[in-house]
């Protein structure tokens, strides 16, 4: 829950920041800003030498194809820290496809380019698009279990697969926390939809075969009670007297606080401040009053209920992010980032790489864990769960670091040594728990 994917390339809008698909970068889109801050010239007239292709310069190996979290961070950095946003009042950079033939763009990217044109009124085939990162995905969700098989995989047909902590309640697809780790990878929504669907059905079949009682045979009081609980929550909301807090405005404030403190860059001072602010919003939300107290297509009460549910989630995200003093995937805390190697002399550099790897291992021992948040009625309680890394051991992510090759060399030597030891002992070390996401 603590990690959010912030999509690097989104189209600004008052109601929603619309995604510009990653395929625009994939098909050769170049991200740049004019070297001169807020250069007002038509972008097509800015000479090559006066353009800053910052992803290409900073990541010569990957160029515009760096992973999303890195692209996001760099675009954020260029606008917020370097002050190189294309526009003065709004943060944005160019995503440029104008060097690609129009026919090829229409064939490969027609749909997404039409969306840009529709919502911005500008043709991206002839004018560079203006984009900025936007929140897109939560690398977390409902905790679900799975049955580990003897060889460390997943036992197909087990009713434990995708089972939440509520008996017989299954969560599958984007609402569960599996697969993503701290970073969302391309097409992972398809994975969670198709794979979870595929493995859950046989498990539920097993469950039903072993079930002695059908839901319809349970005492009706069980259902009546649950229904009554929600009906009384609903009725109480409708009965609230006017003049209280406006749920739409609290929602707006919540969005502003969360976007500022818990998205691209996270700092403990900002997270602490945001946590206090969201606690305040949470208390204020208890006094929301409705502008529609009717019972027919009442979107006001639906909106308010959603808002009331968002606040515990916001608290869980902030608290999880505050406690986790490290960088992992999309969770980026610059104060705890592992920097590049500084030494130039080979022996010193080797020693520094060893220290880097020691630090990486120590950090994993502490933080290679899933954060589990539980709502206790008025606040969030956090616990941690180990990640099963028995099948794929973790390794450092070294994009753009000076000395990446040296670190990788040390790491590979250590991994080879560990593998040799494990083979000597017979079985590989097994992780404690099954869940793959953290």
């Amino acid at each position: 829950m603590r990690c959010s994917k912030v999509h690097p390339t989104a189209i600004p809008g008052a109601d929603k920041l619309r995604l510009m698909s990653e395929s625009a970068r994939g098909e050769g889109g170049r991200v740049w800003v004019p070297r001169k801050p807020q250069d007002l010239r038509d972008p097509l007239t800015v000479p090559e030498a006066e353009r800053f292709y910052f992803l290409e310069e900073r990541y010569p190996k990957y160029k515009n194809l760096v992973p999303r979290d890195i692209a996001t961070r760099e675009i954020f950095d260029i606008c917020v820290n370097e002050g190189l946003s294309v526009e003065k009042d709004r943060q944005c950079v160019y995503l440029d496809l104008t060097h690609i033939p129009k026919a090829e763009l229409d064939r490969k990217l027609g749909g997404i380019l039409d969306i840009y044109e529709k919502f911005q009124g500008v043709d991206p085939r002839t004018t560079p698009m203006k984009i900025f990162p936007a929140v897109h995905y939560t690398m977390g969700g409902l905790w679900v279990d799975y049955q580990r098989s003897a060889n460390g995989g997943l036992q197909v047909g087990s009713p434990k697969n995708q089972l939440t902590n509520i008996p017989n309640l299954y969560a599958l697809g984007e609402c569960d926390y599996q697969y993503h780790g701290a970073n969302r990878l391309g097409a992972n929504s398809l994975l969670s939809c198709i794979f979870s669907g595929l493995i859950t059905a046989p498990g539920i079949e097993t469950l039903l075969k072993g079930q002695k009682q059908a839901a319809s045979e349970l005492p009706s009081s069980l259902f009546d009670q649950a229904r009554k609980q929600h009906q009384s929550r609903h009725d109480a909301l409708l009965k609230r007297s006017g003049g209280g807090e406006n749920p739409y405005l609290i929602h707006q404030e919540l969005g502003d606080v969360m976007t500022k403190a818990a998205t691209v860059v996270r700092r403990n001072d900002q997270l602490t401040e945001a946590l206090a602010k969201v606690h305040e919003l949470y208390n204020r939300s208890k006094k929301c009053s409705l502008s529609d107290t009717g019972n027919w297509t009442n979107q006001n009460v639906v909106f308010t209920k959603s808002l009331l549910d968002m606040l515990p989630l916001a608290l869980a995200i902030l608290k999880g992010a505050l406690q986790r003093d490290e960088c992992r995937g999309a969770h980026f805390k610059p104060a705890f980032a592992f920097g590049s190697l500084k030494a130039t002399e080979p022996a010193a550099r080797r020693q520094e790489a060893e220290q880097w790897c020691d630090r990486f291992e120590a950090n994993n021992a502490k933080w290679l864990k899933s954060t589990i948040a539980q709502w206790t009625g008025d606040d969030v309680e956090l616990t941690y769960e180990d990640v099963d890394t028995s099948l794929i051991p973790p390794r450092p992510r070294l994009y753009g670091l000076v000395g990446a090759e040296d670190i990788e060399k040390v790491w590979n030597e250590r991994a080879a040594k560990k593998a040799a030891e494990a083979n000597g002992n017979g079985t590989p070390a097994a992780g404690k728990l099954a869940a793959a996401a953290h």
Binding site: A14, R18, I115, D292, Q299
Partner: protein
């Protein structure tokens, strides 16, 4: 009463746009409201402060937050449907300044250029109003089920490789697959008339649904369903049910009710070649009829 603007449906709202004019501090939004099915509709005026990058969805969000009319009267927020906000789901379709279109892709700057200072919102007139700008489009989906607008395939068992689809067939099918069941083509169609029934005293929900479906089935099926029938009849797997789809198009309310006004193709936000589909369906149903006569 309800407002209809058939004369102005000829444009699909995707005109070329001029330059930006000076922005007003605020603008007025006139909304045709209705508290529930079968009730009287009434106009209400709201003042909305101008912001950049606004569309009609964000205007309705601001109106919901304020819940106060231009005259300072406290009112319930205006109800409207929306979902994807990217003009691919069709849920937010309504009549904006006299043109049926999606409210997500209706940009305020463009609307104010066309009609300075004011935006007019009314629900679609061909579907029963649920509340305010929300309408019940179930007749539209009923028509899709009549023509079996799907491919019957059980994905749980491995049935082996399906038939290959040529690049050419794919390219002709793709535009038809962009239909999002929004209802614009039906709102603009002179043959598609509103059908609205009320539940009778003592009538069960099942009996009411059945009576509604029967009434819907007597009305014109609509361009969207004809086009979807052509899409699935063109698909190598979908072809297995081609005859059934054609029979549905030849039943009461079928393709013979099309009056060839060609409004549908003019208003379609996805620019689907609906009249081409209708022409193809016309030929295919004629062939089907001859085959049936001669027992082929």
């Amino acid at each position: 009463m309800s407002a209809t603007h058939h004369d102005s449906h000829a444009s699909n709202g995707h005109d070329d746009h001029g330059g930006h004019a000076a922005h007003p501090a605020s603008f007025e939004v006139r909304i045709l409201r209705q508290d529930g099915p079968g009730q009287e509709s009434y106009w209400e005026r709201h003042d909305v402060a101008y912001e950049s990058e606004m569309n009609v969805i964000s205007v309705l969000q601001r109106i919901a937050a304020k819940a106060t009319t231009a005259d300072g009267k406290k009112v319930a927020p205006v109800a409207w449907d929306c979902n994807c906000l990217e003009e691919v789901c069709g849920a937010c379709t309504m009549v904006i300044n006299g043109k049926v279109r999606q409210s997500c892709s209706a940009l305020v700057d463009r609307l104010l250029e066309d009609r300075p200072g004011e935006i007019e919102l009314t629900p679609m007139s061909k579907f029963p109003v649920v509340r305010d700008l929300c309408v019940d489009r179930s007749r539209l989906f009923r028509a899709l089920s009549r023509v079996k607008a799907w491919i019957p395939a059980d994905g749980y068992y491995d049935q082996g490789a399906g038939p290959r689809i040529s690049q050419e067939a794919q390219e002709s099918m793709y535009p038809l697959s962009e239909c999002m069941s929004c209802g614009c083509c039906l709102e603009a169609c002179p043959q598609y008339l509103k059908i609205e029934l009320e539940q009778l005293d003592g009538e069960s929900n099942e009996a009411f649904e059945k009576r509604k479906d029967e009434a819907y089935d007597r009305g014109f099926i609509g361009a969207h369903a004809i086009s979807q029938a052509m899409l699935f009849n063109n698909n190598p797997t979908g072809q297995n049910n081609a005859a059934q789809r054609l029979d549905a198009l030849m039943a009461e309310g079928g393709i013979q009710d099309c009056g060839n006004a060609q409004n549908c193709v003019a208003v379609c936000p996805k620019k689907i070649p609906l009249t081409t589909s209708i022409a193809r369906a016309g030929r295919a149903t004629t062939v089907r009829m001859l085959q049936k006569w001669f027992g082929a």
